[in-house]
Symmetry: C2
Subunit: 308 residues, 2 copies
C-alpha cells in the first residue's frame, strides 16, 4: 500500500486522471511512495486517452483516510469537490489551476496554482524544475489533459503556456496533437452508452457563493440536440439532485465541441438570476450561450458574482 494518494476531483475529467497519474509518477521518481487514485468513474474521453498511451486505470477509492494519512490534490482544491473524508487526512500538496475556495490547512504546504488552462501544463514545469525526464507515455497523458481542458486550444482558459506545453509534449509522445485531440474529444462526445443519470454526474461540480450552493454539470457533444431533446426527462433528474443536495441552482450545460457554443438547462429557486447574469433569454428553462465553452472562466464566475 502506498503512503500518499494523488487525486483529482470527483466526477473526474481527463486532466484530473492524467495529472494524478503523471504527478504520482514524478513523485515516485523523487522517492515518494505515491499512488494515483480516482474518486469516480472514467468518462469515454479519458478511457480513450489511457488506452492510447497504455496507462492503467487508477484505483477507485472513496474513503482515502482508511488507507493513507497524507494526500496530494491535483486539478482541484475545494473540499466539496474532493474525497468525502478529505478533512480526515493531511493535504501535503496541491497542484491546480482553479479559483481557490473552501480550502484550509493547519500547516504550511506546497500549493502551486497558476492561471493556466490545465494542471498538466504546471506539471510539465515541475518535471523540469525537478530535472526529471518526461517519458513518452506520461507526455501523452499530459498532452491529453491539455487538449481536453482547452478543447483543442479553443477555450478562453487556454494560455500561450498551454499551447507551448502541448507542443513539447506531443513531440515527446510522438503524436499529432490536432488529429489525436479531435479523435479523443469525439470519443468523449460519444454519449450513446450513457444513461441520462450518467450525463448528470459525468462532469458535475458543486460550488458555494455567499450563502448559496450551486452545481454546474457539463457534457461535451457533437450533436447538442441528442441531449437537449430529452430535456423533460433531464429536468426530473435535475430536480432530484436539487432536492438531495439542497441546491439553489443547477445548471446543466451541453457544449457543442465543433462549434464552441453551449446550451444550458437551468433549474432551482435561484434560476431567475441567469437571464441577467448572462444577458440572454431563458425560454422553457433553456438558454443559448454563444461562444461559451468554459465552466471555469465563463460560467462559474458569472454565477458566483450574481449570487453574491
Amino acid at each position: 500500500m502506498s503512503n500518499v494518494f494523488v487525486l483529482g476531483h470527483q466526477n473526474p475529467d481527463t486532466d484530473s486522471i492524467c495529472s494524478a497519474i503523471s504527478y504520482a509518477y514524478l513523485k515516485n521518481q523523487l522517492g515518494m511512495d505515491a499512488e494515483p487514485i480516482r474518486l469516480g468513474d472514467l468518462n469515454n474521453e479519458t478511457l480513450f486517452a489511457l488506452e492510447k498511451f497504455s496507462a492503467a486505470e487508477p484505483r477507485l477509492v472513496k474513503r482515502v483516510s482508511e488507507e493513507v494519512s497524507q494526500v496530494i490534490l491535483v486539478d482541484h482544491n475545494e473540499r466539496q469537490q474532493s474525497a468525502e473524508d478529505i478533512g480526515d487526512v493531511q493535504v501535503i500538496e496541491v497542484i491546480d489551476h482553479h479559483r481557490i475556495a473552501n480550502f484550509e490547512t493547519t500547516d504550511p504546504l506546497y500549493f502551486r496554482a497558476e492561471p493556466v488552462g490545465c494542471t498538466a501544463t504546471i506539471l510539465l514545469k515541475l518535471f523540469k524544475e525537478n530535472e526529471v525526464e518526461v517519458p513518452a507515455d506520461m507526455a501523452g497523458l499530459m498532452l491529453s489533459a491539455i487538449l481536453s481542458d482547452s478543447l483543442l486550444f479553443k477555450s478562453p482558459t487556454c494560455t500561450p503556456q498551454d499551447v507551448a506545453a502541448a507542443k513539447e509534449l506531443a513531440e515527446i509522445a510522438g503524436v499529432d496533437a490536432a488529429e489525436y485531440g479531435l479523435a479523443m474529444l469525439k470519443a468523449g462526445a460519444d454519449l450513446s452508452n450513457k444513461t441520462l443519470e450518467d450525463l448528470m454526474s459525468l462532469d458535475s461540480k458543486e460550488f458555494e457563493a455567499g450563502d448559496h450552493r450551486f452545481e454546474v454539470a457539463q457534457v461535451n457533444a457533437i450533436d447538442v440536440n441528442e441531449v437537449i431533446g430529452r430535456q423533460a426527462e433531464l429536468e426530473v433528474l435535475m430536480e432530484q439532485v436539487i432536492a438531495k443536495k439542497e441546491l439553489d441552482l443547477f445548471t446543466f450545460v451541453v457544449t457543442d465541441i465543433l462549434n464552441n457554443d453551449s446550451v444550458a438547462i437551468v433549474l432551482g429557486k435561484k434560476a431567475g438570476i441567469i437571464e441577467g447574469a448572462f444577458k440572454a433569454s431563458v425560454v422553457d428553462n433553456r438558454v443559448l450561450l454563444p461562444g461559451v465553452v468554459s465552466r471555469k472562466k465563463q460560467i462559474v464566475p458569472v454565477i458566483t458574482e450574481a449570487l453574491s
Copy 2:
C-alpha cells in the same frame, strides 16, 4: 500611481517588507507597474536591513482599494492579516510560506506557497524561473528576510532550501551572513525605544480555529526578563485587546534569540488549553516553552489543534 500593490501582512516583519520590495522589483522588471507598500510601522530590525542595503521604506497604505484594484500578497494569505479592505480588490498573486486559511477568490490566480522558512527563498526561485538577475541590494534584502524568519537558521521552520538561498544571496550582496544576521537580530531585539503598546502589536497575528479566535504576538529579545518583568502592565493591555477583538485567547511570546527559548503570557477564556497543548505548566499566566521559537510551526498549529 502604480497599478498593482505588493503587500505583506499587518504588523510587518522583515520578510513581509523585504519580500514586498524584492517582488515588486521583479514584477517591474517583467513589465508590471507594481509598488511595494506596507500596512504598518517598521520594526528596528527591518529598519536596520533597509538602511544597510540603502532601500527606501515602502509607503504606508491602509486602504488599498482607494488606489488600486489589484494586489499581490507576499508572506501571508489569511484575509484578517491583510489590508482591511482586501475584500474590495482582486488578489492576482500570492507568494507565501504559511498555512492556507480564510482565503478565497472568484477567479484562478497565481498562488505559490511552499513549506520553506521564508518567502524570500521562494522569490529567489522566481527570479531564476523568470531569468531576471538579482541585484546586490535586492539580494541583501532577501537575505535579511531569510536570516530574520529563520533566526539565523536556528528555527525549526528553516529548511535546506533557505540555507542554500541565503548562501547564494549573501555572496551576491557581498556580506557575511552570520555576522550581518546577528547585528540585524540584535538591532531588532533592542526594545529600548518601544512602549509596551508597541510590543503588543510589533509582530502580532490573529487566527481562527473552529469557532474560536486567537492572537499570537511575538517579540524577540536578548534579555527576556526586560519584557516579562513588566507582566502586570502587559496583562492590562492584553485584556484590552481581548475585549476589543473578542478573542478567546491571547498568547504573548517573548523569544530569547540567543538561547532559542520562549516565555509566553497567556490570557483569555480559552487559556486553560495551553497546559495540555504544550505539556507545560502555566504559573501566574506564564509558561516556559523550551526550544520554541517559531510561531508558525511550534505555536499556531498546537493552539489550532487544541481549539478545534
